[in-house]
Amino acid sequence: MKKYTLHVLGTHCSACKMMIEETLIESKKVSGAEVNLKKETVVIEGSFGSPKELIDKLNPLLAPHKYRLTLEKEVKENDYTSLMTALPIGLSVLALFFLLQKSGLINFGFEGGLTPWTALLIGLIASVSTCLAVVGGLILSLSAEISQDVSNFRPFTFFHSGRLIGFMVLGGILGALGSAIEINYTATSVLGLIAALVMIILGINLIDTFGFAKKFQLALPKSIFVKVIKIEKGFFAPFLIGAGTFFLPCGFTQSMQIAALASGKWLEGGMIMTMFALGTLPMLVLISFSSYKFAHSKYASVFFKSAGIIVFGLGFFAFLTGLAGLGIIKPLFNI
């Protein structure tokens, strides 16, 4: 029995740690394995002739999970390369997004009044509008962040069903309460600022998956979100976050909420909000599904960095407009 300390690449989540340890212990020659997430090392206890033999025996076991043991710490030389590829991609997506807003292509009026079908259409438009800046950006960052840790699409399914059911129930409540309550715009704006800050931090984290950001303890998303989300078996956390998007500031969502309030009937209020959420669904599913796919492809590194740049840009934009909306700074943009 001997102890070996080896380096392992790609350990950045507690799920990875467990996965690696469980995989290693499956080998008969290993009697103990412990991963150190911070140092990216693993201490293996077992009977091997030499560290070289250990590597040759154990690496094939880890290969299906995309991990590899090495004697020397490998420098992630492709980090810089992927950032350089991600930079033009991320910035171009941002530019195209804002260009679409300016183009007037998605500026519609609905003079015929609000029916469930127009609510659906408004949802569709909302999902490619500035609403996307906050809700879509948050979904992109959370999806990218979670995709690093999970190996199936379940949390995303829970998230999207949480959003649909949340909108249905909360819309129904708005309709039932009617004019008895008022939407608090200041509270929504403050919530928007918090969402923007979360996006900025998640964005920085994604750009620099495990370097600079880790040094400066920008660990908020890992410690709060991922722990809350409880990864693959979690149901409530993604569901609740999905339902919680009801409160995120988005001009379209707010006017739908006002319409639900004005309807004065729970059935109508619920209907309006459900149809609106259904309208936003295709785009949001596309965002989370493609994040998931990219995160598990060979382009993962470029994807995380591009997503980070996009999320950071949208968060920064939402933060500045949010401050302007609260009257704290002078408005800078006019989209």
Binding site: T81, M84, T85, L87, P88, L91, S92, L94, A95, F98, L99, K102, G104, N107, F108, G109, F110, E111, G112, G113, L114, I122, A126, S129, T130, A133, V134, I183, Y185, T186, T188, S189, G192, P249, C250, G251, F252, Q254, S255, M256, I258, A259, G313, F317, A318, L320, T321, G322, L323, A324, G325, L326, G327, K330, P331, L332, F333, N334, I335
Partner: protein, 129 residues
Amino acid sequence: MKKNIVIAVLVSIGLIWILTYNSGEKNVPQNGPSVVREENGVQYIHIMARAGYTPNQIQAKANMPTVLEVETKGTYDCSSSINIPQIGYRNGLPPTGVTEIEIPVDMTKDTLNILCAMGMYRATIDFTK
């Protein structure tokens, strides 16, 4: 590698231009009679709220009782949640209709920014003497 940096820099410049370029200024008449009018010593400023505010650059008289008339026509976007931080006015406009917002006389000087709830749409009233 260098090519990517060049592309990134160019795209960034484009992005800043898109974000700060005020498209409304060009195609809006400086001050048509339909925008600012006076009735019985009260100044009325009429703007349209739909996918932003039109016009978004308005010149009006300073130190005068002023009423801002915001018209909506099937508006369900952010501009229907109007927000005037300087006078602390935040409200949801009806999808279709005209909403009158009184602007206190002592606020009718310099500039007044009209934003939507999230702050991405903007109109500016310049109060001149």
